[in-house]
């Protein structure tokens, strides 16, 4: 196992720590906020910025170890960027529909 050179290790380490803090804050917001529509916001931070940071760090480290550009982490980034808004919109529509139906039944 070869060692990671410093020009890749230091930015990757900083990106990883930023992503960890963002994910923890996002999940804490998911746990603590009072309303469903307020609770939808903090995890978006984790799933876009946090995932982006981790994937850039992973690309940096694997490129530095392999000695050539390794870009298959871009696939996951692209997939997350495409699917996160779809998931959020479907969940918000489901929540609106269910709360309206509950208000109608009452």
């Amino acid at each position: 196992m070869s060692e990671v050179p410093a020009w890749a290790a230091v930015p990757a380490a900083i990106l990883l720590m930023v992503a960890g803090v963002l994910a923890a804050i996002g999940a804490f917001g998911l746990l603590r906020l009072p309303d469903f529509f307020k609770r939808m916001h903090p995890p978006a931070m984790c799933s876009t910025l946090g995932a982006g940071c981790v994937l850039i760090a992973s690309t940096l480290v694997s490129s530095a170890v392999a000695g050539r550009p390794v870009v298959h982490a871009v696939l996951i980034t692209l997939f997350i960027v495409i699917t996160a808004p779809v998931t959020a919109m479907l969940l918000a529509r489901a929540a609106v529909y269910r709360s309206e139906r509950r208000a109608r039944e009452r």
């Binding site: 720590m17 746990l31 969940l91 529909y97």
Partner: protein
């Protein structure tokens, strides 16, 4: 894997594990069904990030495929659950 990068990898793993714990608490607590689906969504994203961090730690590329599979199945399951909450069935005729 020692020094600054090793510390950062450990720190990030602990943070993602903490985030998964928070999401699991919301999954158990959640008052409505959509809260549980959202918590499941957050949980699979954090599990995928944890797998990628493990891939950085072990410098192997096998973790990429697992993370991609988790992203795919997590998206499909969240969309199916949201569709079920919205319409009452997943695949409509």
């Amino acid at each position: 894997m020692t020094g600054f990068l090793g510390f950062a990898v450990t720190f990030a793993s602990l943070c993602f594990a903490l985030a998964m714990l928070f999401a699991a608490l919301r999954l158990f607590k959640g008052p409505a069904a959509q809260d549980r689906v959202l918590a499941l969504d957050v949980m699979y994203i954090n599990g995928m990030l944890l797998l990628l961090v493990l891939g950085i730690r072990s410098l192997s590329s096998a973790y990429f495929d697992m993370a991609l599979l988790i992203a795919l199945f997590g998206f499909v399951s969240t969309v199916a659950l949201a569709k079920f909450l919205l319409r009452g069935e997943v695949i409509e005729p």
